[in-house]
Amino acid sequence: MRRVNKDQKVRINLTLNGRKMGAEAEPRTLLSDFLRHSLGATGTHVGCEHGVCGCCTVQIDGAAVRSCLTLAMQAEGRDVKTVESLAGENGKLSKLQQAFQNHHALQCGFCTPGILMSFSDFLARHPKPTEEELRDVLSGHICRCTGYAGIMAALKEAVGIS
């Protein structure tokens, strides 16, 4: 049994974007804060901190989850992927990212990392979704700039719906 007392700081090791990393944290440390403050992966944004806005979405073992509703302790030993993992080594954007750029699917960019991490999970599992399914997954995110039209256009390009 793994036990950590509330006033105790322990080292939490995980794989972040393919690299083994670790840092100290308390049991109450949220994964979102652990990624940003302890591991320096600031691509993940923190919005509402109660699971509604979707900005902090990351992947744990390939599944898109809210990192603000996940304890760093729960990611211990797991494979965590953030938006920093999407572009290639030379900075070449992924197909999904490129589609976002093509269609101006972001303005301020605050919600974008979460949306990209949701859809890179969803599209890996459902490579040929319908427009309705795309809208359904997008409903788990809040964007206050785009009115979602540009995001839908980008998603449709990425999956080949004309």
């Binding site: 793994r2 804060d33 901190e49 109660h50 599944a63 898109a64 996940t70």
Partner: protein, 271 residues
């Protein structure tokens, strides 16, 4: 927007878990998907002294076919059940209800049993369990007991679980020749103002389940042709509650207007 400090435990077995619950009782909370509990802790609406994380527990990760019932372990996520290949055939009501639960991203982590433990009056999974007349399996150091859905969920966010007990599984009866599920929410994935499930059995018997109007899901049998009376009586009986999302009157109105549509859809599905 951060939780207060708490002790964290990640036991390897159910035996260890019920041992911790026996020791800490009300002070401890089980952490499964955390899609309600962690939000409540971040908002400081919940403040457990200890969190017992069961997400990785292998003995709670099963979806088991018991013949007339399907048992779902406490660590099974909503998306895992949704992706279960036999879902449409064995649990058609869940197949149509689960896509309404939260969002794709929260279903990746939120568990089937966690939703039942949380007992939100507008939640889809407790409503499905009640409509199917399923059961909840509780375990403590004192042993195991099985409660019917109706005896488990007592009121809004209130269940018959004792402080030393944990839900280890729920069992959904294999049932439903015709099913339909619809809800009205401000935005897809938000909490439903009213949710309605209709289930038609092999012998043609019909059940109407209503969530979001009272503190617990309400289930009524509908005999041939009396659906109008049952819906009207329910709308009068269930006073409804008022919150940020809807007045009690609006909830009753939605029930009156939505129920006939869902009933018709289930009949079409059974035909």
């Amino acid at each position: 927007m951060k939780p207060r400090p708490f002790d964290y435990a990640r036991p390897d077995t159910v035996d260890e878990t019920v041992g911790l619950l026996a020791e800490h009782g009300d002070e401890a909370r089980i952490l499964a998907g955390g899609q309600s509990l962690m939000a409540m802790m971040n908002l400081r609406l919940a403040d457990p002294a200890m969190l017992i994380d069961i997400t990785r527990m292998a003995e709670l990760s099963h979806i088991r076919d018991l013949g007339d019932r399907i048992e779902v372990g406490a660590a099974v996520t909503q998306n895992k059940l949704l992706a279960w290949p036999d879902l449409k055939k064995k649990l058609p009501l869940l197949a149509v209800a689960l896509p309404h639960v939260g969002h794709f991203q929260t279903r990746n982590k939120g568990t089937v049993c966690g939703s039942i433990a949380h007992a939100d009056p507008s939640s889809e999974i407790p409503l499905s369990l009640a409509t199917l007349e399923g059961e909840v399996v509780l375990r403590s150091k004192r042993g195991e007991r099985v409660l019917k859905a109706k005896g488990f969920q007592l009121d809004m966010l209130t269940t018959a679980r004792q402080s030393d007990e944990m839900i280890v599984a729920v069992r959904f009866p294999v049932h439903g020749r015709g099913v339909a599920f619809r809800e009205v929410a401000r935005r897809h994935g938000d909490f439903a103002m009213v949710a309605i499930a209709v289930l038609i059995g092999d012998n043609g018997s019909m059940r109407l389940g209503v969530g979001g109007v009272a503190g617990t899901p309400t289930v009524r049998a509908i005999a041939n042709g009396n659906s109008k009376d049952v819906v009207e009586k329910l709308a009068t009986e269930l006073e409804g509650y008022e919150d940020l999302h809807a007045s009690a009157e609006l909830r009753r109105d939605i029930l009156r207007n939505l129920a006939p549509l869902v009933i018709a859809e289930a009949q079409q599905c059974a035909a």
